[in-house]
Structures are given as structure tokens and as C-alpha cells.
């Protein structure tokens, strides 16, 4: 085997903090060879990002680092910042998690890419670097690259920004690419495209690649080798087939099991507890559905021909309407008691707007919303306040949804206070609520910052349950969580649905997430519902083309299947353009 491009030996990183020393990485060793893709997998806080920042030499000053990192035979720790800067972006480049904050908002995207070229190859003229940027954008599949290069990052969508980041990363044909959760912030369909692009880019350059992720599903189609990390230490390492088909460690198995699978029916799947928890709890739900047919149960929420149109205006003094954005364009659905309807679609398809229209409990622009059979536009102020206890919401981001300055008990009591509960009843209910969502009653006095993401989301669910609601609206409740934590929260939700008979309106961009929990699925696209049907029918026989596309985009944690599904998406001829020769010559010298 060839010499390793990157070898990390016995790397330890620790930070001093108020709580004593935090060991972010301890005794980590790995090697990456030319043309090889290594995936480092682990949950948040397992030290995977810190280890890659150490490779880039980007750790904060107060970090204590020991061990050895060798890149192309040069020891990184003996170099100063100036020497490291000549490596960064040229020999080793990085694709960050959040493409919005990784691109400078005040510079054009083309200029930012050209800058990467010019920094390491000052001999390339400005106009040539600009042309090179356009070629690179074309190579990563950005339509109209010449026009797009003069646009600013906010004019790009999330997926395009990540493509631009990849263009920047491959600009100087690096020997080494580090991708830190490159698709976590993206929709499933976009995620599939970006991963394909990254893989194609890596194969074209023959670069060694380190992919950092918490999602085993992403790894399957991408990596040659996998390194599983937990609690700052390496758990297991091996070839991708070995890890996926013959995992040695219990932790690896639970990581694999936590990935929701769209390709398997409920009886199959993995044997881990987290995975079986999902299926286990979903079973009685199916049982109760049979007991009373859907048509005989009362309707909790009915949405009929709902429209929400935003005018696009121009002019500062006199506002002229120049067009309209049809965010929600005539959708209708209904939710019966004890039922879970999943509303699935990409970001920007109008899911959240629909939720907000429902949560406002006011007359919509057009159409009708009925809760428990009453039209919301006919409500008086008092009735509306009372109805607020029946329809509650769980937000996407558990960090932002809980007031950081309020203890959990007060957060849970807030809706009950509005409904005028007595103090004793509130105390009683807080205890019951915490137990119901799998927390301890002692947690009531703590503040949200003391909890992990999954626990915070449980508090969010408890708050939604506070006043015995009929319907809980869940706005992507698990998309901000790690895969293993997500499985736990989903299992809890399924359990609540069965035990309490609450209805859910579950919004998600990921079909695999809703498979086990929803009874019916509505697939939404550009403000319209393109398909609405029972979960099993949609999964086994999707009618609309878009549903099929969504289904096929979900990553499958099976290397065999994932490899078959991959497509080569990079435009090699564009990459090898005029500027490419110059840049290539530069790296070779």
C-alpha cells in the first residue's frame, strides 16, 4: 500500500473549563491513504470535529494537544501558522457543516473561489482566476455558472452553497479533503446530490478524504473505511463492509440500528434496542387503528383549500405589487382522533407556512381551518384562548424553543397558567408530564442549558402535552438531533400517541423518519399536496414521481445498495478547463 497522506498518531486534545479539564479527543490514531475515503462516525460531543480541526491546525489557543499529525511526511505540530496557511486550501481543504456561515456574505461567490486560487497561486491573473471560478462552479453542477459567480451567498440555496464550498475545496486539487458533516444542514434530496458530488470529486482528484458525520446512512455509499468514535475515543475501525455487515462493538450496532430504514418493512431490520424500540412501540398503534375504523372517529383538524399568498413588492415609497409567492396553494387534509398525519416535503415547499396558518387560529386568506369541527375564523377572543390548549406545537430546534432563563417547571406551567389551572394541579401535572416523556421529576428545577438536545426536545413535547391537547403539531422535531437520539424521541412520540390518544401533525423533510410513526402521509411540493395516502401504500407503491424521488434520496445504511445507487455527477471537462492546467501545474511544482 502507498504511503499514507495523513497519519494521526496518539492524538489527544483537551480544553480547560470551569468544570475541570475536558478531554475532547484521547489517544486517537488513524491513517488515510491516497484516494481513500475514511468516515469518522460518532454522536455530537464525541470529539470527531475537534480531531479534524486539529489536523487543520484550527484549534482554539487554549487547547492542549499532544500526539503527532503527519501530512505528506511533514509533522504539522512543528510548523508555525504561516507554514500551515500554505497547506490549508492547497494541500488540505475543508468543507464545513453550515454553508451559510462558511461563505462570507459580503463577497460574491465567484470572488471567494477565485481568492482560494489566487492565494496559493499568485501568478494566476485576476481575470484568469475568475474564469477558473466559473469553471469550478460549472464542474460542481451549478446552472448558469457565469451569472451565479457574480451573486452573493444569500442568493444561493443551501444545496448550492454547499456545492460552492466543494468547488472551493477542490479548486487547488488538494491531496486531502476534510468534510465536516457536509450534509447535516440540508434536505434529504439535496443531501443525496451533495454526497454524490463529493464522492465524484474525490474520485476525480484521487484525494484522501475524511468524512465526519453522525449518520451511518451517509457513510455507506461514500467511505472505504469507517472509524467509530464515542466519548472522545475510538470504538471500532474497519472496512465499510466489515463495519456494516459484521460490526464487532455493541455501540456500532446501535448506531446502525438508529438509522431509520425506508427499504425494510417493519418485521425485518436490525436487532438493536434503539431500532426495535421504534418498531415495538409502533405496533400497538397499528392495533388501535383497527379497533375503530377511521371514518367513525371524530375529526380533530380539517384544512380545506388553504391558501397563503405573499405579495412580492418593489419600490421603497410606493409599494407596487410585482408578483406573488404562492407559499400554500390550496391544500386540503383532515386528521382524525388518535391519528398521525405526516406532512413531508423539501424546505421551502410550504410546510411551515401551513403549520403557522393552523397555529394562528385566525381566518386564513382563503379556505377554511376547522378544529374539532368549529371554524377558527368564527372564534371569539375567549374561545380562541381556550382552543390554544387543544392545539399545541413542538418546534424544530430544541435549543431555541425553551427560554434559557426559565427552569423546566416554569416552562411546563406556562400554558397551564394561561388556562387558569390551580397551583396544586400544576405541580401534580409537572411531575406527571416529566415522567410521561421519560425524564425525572427532579429535573423540574433545572434550566434548559443543563439538558442535552434530546432531553430538551422531550421537555418541548411535555410542554405541548401540558393541557391535554387534542392535536400536537410537530415541526421537524428530530431534524436537529443526532440519529441515535432521534430514535429515542420518535419512540417516545409513538408511545404517547398510543397511550394518550393524541393526534399528531408531523412535519418532516425525511420520509424515513415518519415511516414508523405516521398512519398517513401527505407529500407536499411547491405549496401543493401531490400525494396523500396511507403510509404503507405510499412506501410500497408511491404514485407521484416526486414521492418516488424523495424515497430514493433517503440514504440506506447498506454499502451494497448505496454503491449501486450512486451517480457520477461532476463535470470533469469543466474542471479540466483552461485555468485548470495552470492550477494543476502550480500544484505539481
Amino acid at each position: 500500500m502507498s504511503e499514507p497522506i495523513l497519519s494521526v498518531r496518539d492524538l489527544s486534545v483537551s480544553f480547560p473549563s470551569e468544570y475541570g479539564t475536558v478531554h475532547a479527543v484521547s489517544n486517537l490514531s488513524y491513517e488515510v491513504h491516497k484516494g481513500e475515503a475514511l468516515a469518522i462516525v460518532g454522536e455530537s460531543g464525541s470529539g470527531k470535529s475537534v480531531s479534524s480541526l486539529a489536523v487543520m491546525g484550527l484549534l482554539p489557543r487554549n487547547a492542549t494537544v499532544s500526539g503527532e499529525i503527519e501530512l505528506l511526511g511533514r509533522k504539522l505540530f512543528t510548523m508555525d501558522d504561516g507554514q500551515l496557511s500554505t497547506l490549508r486550501g492547497n494541500t488540505i481543504s475543508m468543507v464545513f457543516q453550515d454553508p451559510l456561515s462558511a461563505l462570507t456574505p459580503v463577497f460574491q461567490v465567484g470572488k471567494q473561489i477565485a481568492e482560494v486560487v489566487r492565494i496559493h497561486h499568485p501568478e494566476v491573473s485576476v481575470s484568469r482566476a475568475d474564469r477558473r471560478a466559473i469553471e469550478l462552479l460549472e464542474a460542481v453542477g451549478i446552472p448558469e455558472p457565469a451569472r451565479r459567480a457574480t451573486q452573493y451567498p444569500h442568493e444561493y440555496s443551501g444545496g448550492m452553497r454547499q456545492r460552492a464550498m466543494i468547488a472551493m475545496a477542490i479548486a487547488n486539487e488538494p491531496e486531502m479533503i476534510i468534510a465536516d458533516e457536509p450534509t447535516t444542514a440540508l434536505d434529504v434530496t439535496i443531501q443525496a446530490q451533495v454526497m454524490d458530488l463529493l464522492k465524484s470529486a474525490q474520485e476525480m482528484l484521487g484525494a484522501a478524504t475524511v468524512l465526519i458525520t453522525h449518520d451511518m446512512g451517509v457513510v455507506a455509499g461514500f467511505a472505504d473505511r469507517v472509524l467509530v468514535m464515542k466519548d472522545s475515543q475510538m470504538v471500532e475501525t474497519g472496512g465499510v463492509d466489515e463495519i456494516f455487515y459484521r460490526p464487532r462493538e455493541e455501540y456500532t450496532r446501535s448506531l446502525l440500528a438508529a438509522v431509520p430504514r425506508v427499504d425494510l418493512a417493519e418485521s425485518e431490520g436490525s436487532k438493536s434496542i434503539a431500532g426495535s424500540a421504534l418498531r415495538h412501540v409502533a405496533d400497538p398503534a397499528a392495533g388501535s387503528t383497527v379497533s375503530t375504523p377511521r371514518e367513525q372517529r371524530p375529526t380533530v383538524l380539517e384544512v380545506e383549500d388553504l391558501h397563503r399568498i405573499y405579495p412580492i413588492t418593489k419600490g421603497a415609497l410606493v409599494r407596487r405589487k410585482i408578483g406573488e409567492q404562492r407559499a400554500v396553494d390550496g391544500i386540503s387534509f383532515d386528521i382524525r382522533e388518535g391519528e398521525c398525519l405526516a406532512l413531508v416535503g423539501e424546505s421551502g415547499c410550504g410546510k411551515t407556512t401551513t403549520l403557522m396558518e393552523i397555529m394562528q387560529l385566525r381566518a386564513p386568506q382563503q379556505g377554511a381551518i376547522r378544529v374539532n369541527g368549529t371554524e377558527v375564523q368564527d372564534l371569539t377572543r375567549k374561545e380562541r384562548a381556550a382552543l390554544r390548549s387543544d392545539v399545541t406545537i413542538v418546534f424544530q430546534d430544541p435549543m431555541a424553543a425553551l427560554d434559557p432563563r426559565m427552569p423546566i417547571a416554569d416552562i411546563l406551567k406556562e400554558p397551564m397558567r394561561v388556562q387558569g389551572y390551580t397551583k396544586e394541579r400544576m405541580d401534580e401535572r409537572v411531575e406527571w408530564l416529566l415522567k410521561t416523556v421519560g425524564l425525572l421529576p427532579e429535573h423540574a428545577a433545572r434550566f434548559p442549558t443543563e439538558f442535552s438536545g434530546g432531553q430538551r426536545q422531550r421537555v418541548g413535547v411535555a410542554r405541548a402535552l401540558a393541557c391535554d391537547p387534542k392535536l400536537i403539531v410537530l415541526d421537524e422535531p428530530t431534524s436537529a438531533l443526532d440519529v441515535t437520539v432521534q430514535a429515542g424521541v420518535l419512540a417516545m412520540l409513538a408511545d404517547l400517541k398510543v397511550r394518550l390518544g393524541v393526534s399528531f401533525l408531523f412535519v418532516s423533510h425525511d420520509l424515513s423518519v415518519v415511516r414508523h410513526i405516521s398512519d398517513r402521509i401527505a407529500v407536499m411540493r411547491k405549496g401543493k399536496i401531490v400525494e396523500l395516502g396511507d403510509t404503507e401504500d405510499v412506501f410500497s407503491d408511491p404514485q407521484h414521481e416526486y414521492s418516488r424521488e424523495l424515497l430514493s434520496a433517503v440514504p440506506i445504511p447498506d454499502p451494497e445498495i448505496a454503491r449501486q445507487r450512486r451517480r457520477d455527477v461532476i463535470d470533469r471537462s469543466a474542471f479540466k478547463g483552461v485555468g485548470g492546467a495552470a492550477a494543476g501545474a502550480g500544484t505539481a511544482s
Binding site: Y19, G45, V50, P60, D231, H280, V281, T449, Q455
Partner: protein, 341 residues
């Protein structure tokens, strides 16, 4: 976790420690092993980790960070000394601020007149202490009143801003009020009103100074409120049907409190400087009261002992307050350097 700063913030540090250091915590070490083997519907995260995090509350953390900075210690010691001097000094010193000793007029420090006597036969030390008292009261009073005004206007403007058409009109009105106060010549108005109001009581200086100092803080608070109103927990409160006034006091004020505290602290020194400046040019504190500004007014350039002591006390006061304010800001800001050890 892409951003290295995430690691530095306290919540994450706690998380990290709870999940990364099994050897140091035998209880947790046992717990992390079976996190994923909990019962169905149970918890894949570990709850036992929380006991460890609890040990440091927010207040405790703040106190530690604040006391770690040397400038905080300097500021506190100087400020405490000055306050003690202002409170107890006039009680034990034998001369009053308006006792004339014309025989010793314009003499330097001596055993009887610790800091000398000015050309009108008034004792400098006694006047400086008395002036310090008044300046402290006016400074602290003005800072609190300023913050209150700014809070009321800023939060209301920020909150109603996105509440429909009428809200936008109210917000616009308040913003224009702020702008109006910013453009009117405040110094001239202060010089106009101050002597008139002083005839009632010297405490009128407090509302007068505050009335022309709240605008910039109000603008900042308005912007911060607008940001908070869009957060999900305020949105959640709205969907629960919580009264807007309760939302403001329960959710918005606690979350901007740290900024208000810093601003009030730094506002004290700004108010003291404003008051002494006015007094110095003769439009501030009038007889029979004396402030540091009026003490400085009686300067005699050829006799440094007539102006160095009040000027030094004024400088020490302002510097000590600013040192404390800066340390407080560093302690409250999780991204600042003081969180590093």
C-alpha cells in the same frame, strides 16, 4: 460541532465533560456503557450525567468569571474606598463644605486642612467628599432611570413592531420619538432647565440628565427585542395564548438583562461625567449643594492643590466603574476571553 467556540460555551463544556470523561466519573463511566440498551420507549441519553453538571449554577459561574479578572478587583476596591469615604468622611472630618477659614485662604495641605484651602477659604477635602456624595447619588440615580426609560420604550417598540399594521405605526412613532430626542440640542436644554428646576431640589438633575440619555440604549434594546420576538420560545408563548405583557416580563426582559446590567453600570460613569461637566460650567448643581464639578469650578491654576484632588477623585470614580463594567461584560459574554482558563 464545527465551530471551536461551541466547545468553549459553558453548556457544551458541561455536556462534553458529562459525555467524555468516564474515568473521572465512575458513576457516569458505568452509565455511558449502557446508554443505548435502555428499555423501549426509554431514554437513549444518559440522565445520570446531569447530577454532575448541576454543581455550577449560572450565578456561580458568573461570580467566578468576574472575580478572575484583575480589573474587576481593582475597580471594586477603588469604588468601595470612594463610597466609604463619601459616606463616612464628612461625618468625622472637622470642617464642613461651606465653612470659611479665610485666614488660611489659598494655603496648601496642612495638618488641619488635609488637602488645603481654596481662595474663598473653603476646605478642599470637605468639599471633595461632599461633592463625591452628590455625584454618586446623581450618577447612580440617573443610570437607573435611564435604563428604565430605555427599557420601557425599547421593549414596547420592539415587541409591537411586527404585530400588524397598528403595531408598525406605534413602533414607527416610538422610533421617531427616539430620533427627535437624538437631534434636539440637549446641552442647551439642560442649561435652560437645570437652574430653574434646581430651585425646587437638586434631585431634579436626575430626571433631567436621564431624559437626554436614554435614546441610544432604547434603540439597542428595540433591536434586541425584535430578535427575541422571533425566537421559538416567544412564538411558543404566543401559541399558548400568553398575554403580551407577561411575555415581555417573563421571556424578553430576563434574556436581555445581562446587557441592561452592563449598560447601567457604564451609564453611571457617563452620568457622573455629564453632571460634573454641567456643574463645572455653572449650570449643574447650585449652592447650597456641591458636586465634584462645582469643586473643580473653584480651581486656581497656579495652586494645583485646588484642582488636583477633586479631579483625581473624579477620574478614580469613573475609571473604577468602567473597570467593573468591562469585567462584568466579559463575565456575561460566553465568547469573551474570560471564559478561557
Amino acid at each position: 460541532m464545527t465551530n471551536p467556540q461551541d466547545i468553549r460555551s459553558t453548556g457544551d463544556a458541561a455536556q462534553l465533560r458529562a459525555s467524555t470523561d468516564p474515568e473521572a466519573n465512575p458513576v457516569l463511566g458505568a452509565a455511558v456503557g449502557d446508554t443505548n440498551t435502555s428499555t423501549p420507549g426509554g431514554d437513549p441519553e444518559n440522565i445520570s450525567g446531569l447530577e454532575l453538571i448541576e454543581s455550577l449554577s449560572r450565578g456561580e459561574l458568573l461570580r467566578r468569571r468576574f472575580l478572575r479578572s484583575t480589573s474587576a478587583w481593582f475597580g471594586m476596591i477603588i469604588f468601595a474606598l470612594l463610597v466609604l469615604m463619601a459616606v463616612f468622611g464628612p461625618m468625622i472630618y472637622q470642617y464642613g463644605p461651606f465653612e470659611r477659614d479665610l485666614r488660611n485662604a489659598l494655603t496648601g495641605p496642612s495638618m488641619y486642612h488635609w488637602l488645603g484651602v481654596n481662595e474663598n477659604g473653603l476646605d478642599i477635602f470637605a468639599r471633595t467628599l461632599q461633592g463625591l456624595r452628590i455625584s454618586l447619588v446623581i450618577g447612580i440615580g440617573t443610570a437607573f432611570l435611564t435604563s428604565f426609560l430605555a427599557l420601557a420604550v425599547g421593549i414596547v417598540a420592539g415587541y409591537v413592531g411586527n404585530k400588524g399594521k397598528w403595531g408598525a405605526i406605534a413602533d414607527g412613532g416610538l422610533v421617531n420619538l427616539i430620533n427627535l430626542f437624538l437631534v434636539i440640542p440637549s446641552l442647551l436644554l439642560l442649561m435652560l432647565f437645570s437652574p430653574v428646576l434646581q430651585q425646587a431640589t437638586w434631585l431634579w438633575m436626575i430626571p433631567l440628565l436621564a431624559g437626554f440619555a436614554w435614546m441610544l440604549t432604547a434603540r439597542v434594546l428595540r433591536a434586541m427585542t425584535q430578535q427575541l420576538v422571533r425566537t421559538e420560545y416567544v412564538e411558543a408563548a404566543r401559541f399558548m395564548g400568553v398575554n403580551p405583557l407577561i411575555t415581555m416580563t417573563r421571556h424578553i426582559i430576563p434574556n436581555i438583562a445581562s446587557w441592561i446590567i452592563i449598560d447601567t453600570t457604564l451609564g453611571v460613569s457617563a452620568a457622573i461625567l455629564g453632571e460634573t461637566g454641567l456643574s463645572f460650567i455653572g449650570f449643574g448643581i447650585q449652592y447650597p449643594q456641591v458636586s465634584l464639578g462645582t469643586v473643580l469650578q473653584d480651581y486656581n491654576i497656579s495652586a494645583p492643590y485646588t484642582w488636583i484632588p477633586p479631579a483625581a477623585v473624579l477620574a478614580a470614580l469613573v475609571i473604577s466603574i468602567n473597570l467593573m463594567g468591562e469585567a462584568l461584560r466579559d463575565a456575561l459574554d460566553p465568547t469573551s476571553g474570560s471564559s478561557r482558563l
